[in-house]
C-alpha cells in the first residue's frame, strides 16, 4: 500500500524503472482495449510493471478485453496480418508472420515432420500400384537405383556473398537447373534485402530485387558449386543427374568475383 502511494507520487518516468513485485492489484493489466491494440507496438510500453518475480499470478479473468488485441491495424513493426478466428467461419489462412518475404508458399516447418519423411510419395510412385500387376509395379516402384534417395532429402549447404547466414537446399526437390535457380532466388531474395536495409523494420514495401541470371553469367550473381573432389565448378555445365551426384556445396558468388575465384582445383576451403 505504501508502494501504491509512492507510485502515485513518482513521475511516470521513474515508475517505469521500478520493478513491481506485487500483483497488479488495482492497476488493470489489460487496461482499455485501445491501449491493448497498441500494446505490442507502443514505444513507451511499460514492461517492468508486467513482470512478476513472485508466484505465478492470475490474470483478471476479463475475457472481453483480449478479443480485440491482435486486430491492430497500426502496424509499425514487422507487418503481420493475423486474422481472428471466429468459430462460425470457415478456416481462414494466417500469413506466416516470421517470413520477411511476402511470397506465398508452404509454411516453414509445417507439417511437423522430419525432412527425410518428405517427398516419399513423389520420389517413387505417387500412389501404391494395385497388387495385381506385380511386374508392372516393380518397374515403376523400383525404377531408381538404390543410390538415389528414396524421399530422403539431399541437403547441401549454400552460401551467398553478402549474406552471413548460410542455408541448405534439398536438391531432390528439383529436377532441373532452372528450378534450382528459382529456388535460390526465392531463398536469398529476402535475406539479401534484409542485409541491405538499414535498421528500420518498417515499411519494407520496396520491391525485393529478383536474383536472376545465376546460370549464364548475365546476372549480378552466379551459381557455383564444389564437387566431391573439391573442385569448384560453374553450375549448369554437366547433366543435372550428374550434378546432383557430385555436388557437395553451393555458393552464390558476385559475378564480378568470378575471375578472381579460382575455378578448377581446390586451393583453400571455400570461406563461409
Amino acid at each position: 500500500m505504501n508502494e501504491m502511494t509512492r507510485n502515485e507520487r513518482e513521475s511516470s518516468e521513474e515508475r517505469k524503472l521500478e520493478l513491481r513485485l506485487a500483483p497488479p492489484g488495482v492497476e488493470n493489466w489489460f487496461n482499455t482495449s485501445n491501449n491493448n491494440k497498441q500494446r505490442a507496438y507502443d514505444y513507451d510500453y511499460d514492461y517492468e510493471s508486467k513482470l512478476s518475480l513472485g508466484n505465478f499470478l492470475h490474470f483478471p479473468s476479463n475475457k472481453a478485453i483480449v478479443k480485440g488485441k491482435e486486430s491492430s491495424s497500426s502496424q509499425t513493426c514487422c507487418p503481420k496480418s493475423v486474422e481472428l478466428q471466429n468459430g462460425d467461419n470457415k478456416v481462414t489462412a494466417v500469413s506466416n508472420t516470421s517470413q520477411k518475404r511476402t511470397a506465398p508458399g508452404p509454411v516453414v516447418g509445417w507439417p511437423p515432420i522430419r525432412s527425410f519423411r518428405k517427398n516419399l510419395a513423389t520420389s517413387s510412385n505417387s500412389k501404391p500400384s494395385p497388387p495385381e500387376s506385380h511386374t508392372q509395379q516393380h518397374n515403376k516402384v523400383a525404377g531408381k537405383k538404390p543410390i538415389d534417395n528414396f524421399g530422403k532429402g539431399l541437403f547441401v549447404k549454400i552460401n551467398m556473398d553478402g549474406v552471413p547466414i548460410g542455408r541448405k537446399v534439398d536438391l531432390n526437390a528439383y529436377d532441373s537447373y532452372q528450378n534450382l535457380s528459382s529456388a535460390v532466388d526465392e531463398l536469398f531474395r529476402g535475406l539479401l534485402k534484409a542485409q541491405r536495409d538499414s535498421s528500420s523494420c518498417r515499411g519494407n514495401k520496396e520491391e525485393e530485387k529478383v536474383i536472376s541470371g545465376l546460370l549464364d553469367g548475365s546476372g549480378e550473381y552466379t551459381l557455383v558449386y564444389e564437387d566431391n573432389e573439391g573442385d569448384r565448378m560453374l553450375v549448369g555445365d554437366v547433366p543435372w543427374h550428374m550434378f546432383v551426384s557430385t555436388v557437395k556445396r553451393l555458393r552464390v558468388l558476385k559475378s564480378t568475383e568470378l575471375s578472381a575465384f579460382t575455378l578448377g582445383t581446390k586451393q583453400d576451403k571455400i570461406p563461409t
Binding site: F59, C77, G87, P111, V141, P146
Partner: protein
C-alpha cells in the same frame, strides 16, 4: 549429521538405484546423502546441454561412466532452428577426455558432432562401449573410421536419423579382425553404399549382435547372406525391400533367411517395397512386437495382410496408406498395441483424403485397450471423435495430433476443437505429452491449464487468441517442463506475468509469436537463472524499436550462465555490453572450429 546408517551401507543401498529421478531425489535428502550419492552416480542425463557446464558435471560426479546430452530445441527437427545455432559436443568431450577417462557411454540427441569429437572419443576412452547419435550432424564417415579403429570394446554404434557426410563406405573395414563385441549397429541414416563384404565379415564374427539397422543402399538380394551371419538378431532394419525385377529365388532365400531368425521381434527399413516380397515375413510375424513401415509405399490391402498376422504387435509405425480400413484391421488383430504412429504420405497435398480420417483413429482406440501413445497425421477431426477417444482411453499418456491444414475446425460442426482436446485432458489424467492442431481458441488452453496436471511437454501451433491462452498454460500446468509454440498470438503479458514459472521448466520455445524485444531484454535482465536467447536472422534486434516482435525466442534455465558459442544471429538478453565483444569473438571462433 547423519547417525542413521554408516556410509558403506548407504553406498550399497544406493547402488541399487538406477533411475535418475530417484537419485536426484536422494541427493536432496541431506548433505551426506548428497555426497554419497554423487560419488556413486554412474549415469547422468542432461536434457539441455547448455543448462550446466561440463566442468560442473564432472566435478560433481567423478565416477561418471555414462552421459546423455540433448542439444537443439525439438523444433530443429522441422527446420525452425537455423544452421549454426549451436549444440556442439566438443567442449564436453574435451573436458571428459581429461577427467573421465573411464567413460563408457555417450548418448547424444540433436547435437553437432564433428569428426574431431569422434576422433577424441576414440583416442581418450579406453573402455568405450556405447555411442548413440540421434538426429545429430556435423560428422563424416572419417570420424566413424576413428571409432571403428580404436574402440576395441564397442558394443553399440547407433546413428539413428543423423546427417552424416558419407565420404566412403569403407569405414566399416576399420573394425579390426580381432573386434567381436558388437551388439547393436544402426546405420540406417547413411546415404551411400557401405562395404558389404566388410559388413558381412563383421556380422559373422560378432556373436552377440542383437540389433542391425541397414541403410537403403543395401540391396535386397544381399539381405539373406547378411542375415545368415547373424540369425540371433532381435531387431532388424532392412535395406531397400525390392529389386528391379521380381526374382523368385530372392524370395525363397528371404523366406529361408527370415525363418532362421528365431529371435526377431522388431522390423523396420522397408524403403521401396515390392509387395511380392512381403510374404517372406509371414513366418516371423507372430513374434513381432515392433513394426516400422513408415517408409513403405504399399497399399492398404498389403499392409493389412501383413499386420493381420502380427497379433503381438506393441508398436506400429505406418504411412497413411493404411487408411481407416487398415486401422480397423489393426484394431481387430493387435490387441496389445501400445504405440501407434501414422505419418502423412503426401504432406504438401492438403486435399481432403477420405481414406484416412478420424474414424480410423477412433477404431484403433476402441479395439486396443493398451494403446497409450499416439502420433496421428490426418486432414479432418471432430470434437465428437476426440471426446470419444478421451472416454474410451483414459490411460493415454502421449497424444500428438497433427491436422495438416492449420486452423482446421471440427469438420462436422465447424466449431473450434477446444472441447475435444478439453475432453482429452480432462479424462486422461496421466497425459504427459500433448501436441495440438486445428482451430483452437484460448478456451482449449483454459482446459489444459485446469486439467493437465501431469503434462510435461506441450506443442502448440497456429492456436489461441490472446495472451490468456499462454497464461492458462504457464500458470496451470504444474509439471510442465517443455513448451514449444509457433505462430500463436501470444505476447509479452503472459510471459512476463509468469516469469518465475520459466525457472521450473527445462525450456520454452516461441517463434512467430508477438513477444517484443523489450520484453525479452527485461526477462533476460531480471532472471539471471534463465538464458533468454533471441534468434533473428534479419539482423541485430537492437537496430529496431523495442516494441518489435522477435522472430524466435528460446528460453531455458541454466546454471552455466550465457553460452559462449552463439552464432551471429542469436543474442542472449541481459548480458552487459562489456562482455558482448568477448562473446561475439568467441562465437565466431566456435563457428569456425565447428565448420
Amino acid at each position: 549429521m547423519d547417525h542413521s546408517f554408516p556410509q558403506k551401507v548407504l553406498e550399497h543401498l544406493f547402488s541399487f538405484i538406477d533411475s535418475n529421478k530417484d537419485r536426484n531425489a536422494i541427493s536432496l535428502v541431506s548433505k551426506s546423502w548428497y555426497e554419497i550419492e554423487r560419488r556413486s552416480r554412474k549415469k547422468i542425463f542432461i536434457g539441455n546441454c547448455y543448462a550446466v557446464s561440463p566442468t560442473t558435471v564432472i566435478k560433481r560426479f567423478p565416477e561418471l561412466r555414462s552421459i546423455t546430452l540433448k542439444g537443439k530445441p525439438h523444433f530443429a527437427d522441422f527446420n525452425l532452428v537455423p544452421d549454426g545455432w549451436g549444440g556442439y559436443v566438443y567442449t564436453w568431450i574435451e573436458a571428459m577426455a581429461v577427467s573421465v577417462p573411464l567413460l563408457e557411454e555417450i548418448r547424444l540427441k540433436r547435437m553437432v558432432v564433428t569428426d574431431e569429437s569422434l576422433e577424441l572419443i576414440a583416442k581418450s576412452f579406453k573402455n568405450f562401449k556405447v555411442l548413440v547419435l540421434i538426429s545429430c550432424e556435423g560428422f563424416s564417415t572419417d570420424g566413424l573410421e576413428a571409432i571403428a579403429s580404436n574402440c576395441r570394446n564397442l558394443k553399440e554404434l547407433n546413428l539413428q536419423e543423423s546427417e552424416v557426410e558419407d565420404l566412403s563406405g569403407d569405414w566399416l573395414c576399420y573394425f579390426p579382425d580381432s573386434y567381436t563385441s558388437l551388439v547393436s549397429l544402426n546405420i540406417s541414416c547413411l546415404n551411400n553404399e557401405v562395404n558389404l563384404s566388410a559388413l558381412e565379415a563383421l556380422l559373422g564374427r560378432c556373436p552377440n549382435l542383437q540389433t542391425l539397422c541397414l541403410n537403403h543402399a543395401v540391396p535386397l538380394d544381399k539381405l539373406p547372406s547378411l542375415l545368415s551371419q547373424c540369425p540371433q538378431l532381435v531387431e532388424l532394419g532392412t535395406g531397400v525391400y525390392s529389386t528391379e525385377e521380381m526374382h523368385p529365388d530372392v524370395l525363397s532365400s528371404l523366406i529361408t533367411a527370415f525363418s532362421g531368425c528365431k529371435q526377431l521381434k522388431s522390423l523396420s527399413g522397408f524403403w521401396n517395397v515390392l509387395p511380392s516380397y512381403l510374404p517372406a515375413l509371414y513366418p516371423i510375424c507372430s513374434r513381432l512386437t515392433s513394426l516400422n513401415l513408415s517408409y513403405a509405399i504399399i497399399q492398404s490391402s498389403d499392409i493389412v495382410k501383413l499386420i493381420g498376422q502380427c497379433p503381438n504387435l506393441l508398436r506400429l509405425w505406418v504411412l497413411d496408406y493404411i487408411e481407416d480400413v487398415g486401422l480397423e484391421a489393426v484394431a481387430a488383430s493387435c490387441k496389445d498395441l501400445q504405440e501407434l504412429r501414422v505419418f502423412p504420405s503426401d504432406p504438401s497435398c492438403l486435399e481432403l483424403n477420405n481414406a484416412l480420417t478420424e474414424r480410423g483413429l477412433v477404431s484403433v482406440f476402441k479395439g486396443c485397450p493398451k494403446l497409450q501413445s499416439v502420433l496421428y497425421f490426418c486432414r479432418q477431426m471432430s470434437n465428437a471423435a476426440l471426446s470419444a477417444i478421451a472416454q474410451i482411453r483414459p490411460n493415454l499418456t502421449r497424444f500428438r495430433l497433427c491436422i495438416l491444414e492449420p486452423h482446421t475446425p471440427d469438420y462436422l460442426t465447424l466449431q473450434p476443437l477446444d472441447s475435444g482436446f478439453g475432453a482429452i485432458v480432462e479424462h486422461c489424467k496421466d497425459l504427459q505429452r500433448l501436441s495440438l492442431s486445428g482451430l483452437l481458441t484460448d478456451r482449449v488452453f483454459e482446459y489444459i491449464g485446469t486439467h493437465a496436471k501431469k503434462l510435461e511437454m506441450l506443442s502448440v501451433a497456429f492456436a489461441g487468441d490472446s495472451d490468456l491462452g499462454l497464461h492458462y498454460v504457464l500458470s496451470g500446468c504444474e509439471n510442465l517442463r517443455k513448451l514449444e509454440i509457433r505462430d500463436c498470438p501470444f505476447g509479452d503479458e503472459a510471459l512476463l506475468a509468469n516469469a518465475a514459472k520459466l525457472e521450473t521448466m527445462r525450456s520454452l520455445w516461441m517463434s512467430s509469436c508477438s513477444v517484443s524485444y523489450g520484453a525479452c531484454k527485461l526477462l533476460g535482465q531480471k532472471m539471471p537463472k534463465l538464458n533468454v536467447e533471441v534468434i533473428d536472422e534479419s539482423g541485430p534486434p537492437d537496430s529496431r524499436p523495442d516494441s518489435c516482435p522477435v522472430e524466435k525466442l528460446y528460453i531455458y534455465r541454466s546454471i552455466a550462465g550465457p553460452r559462449l558459442d552463439m552464432p551471429g544471429f542469436v543474442w542472449t538478453m541481459g548480458d552487459d555490453s562489456s562482455r558482448k565483444l568477448e562473446l561475439d569473438v568467441a562465437g565466431v571462433e566456435a563457428q569456425f572450429r565447428n565448420l
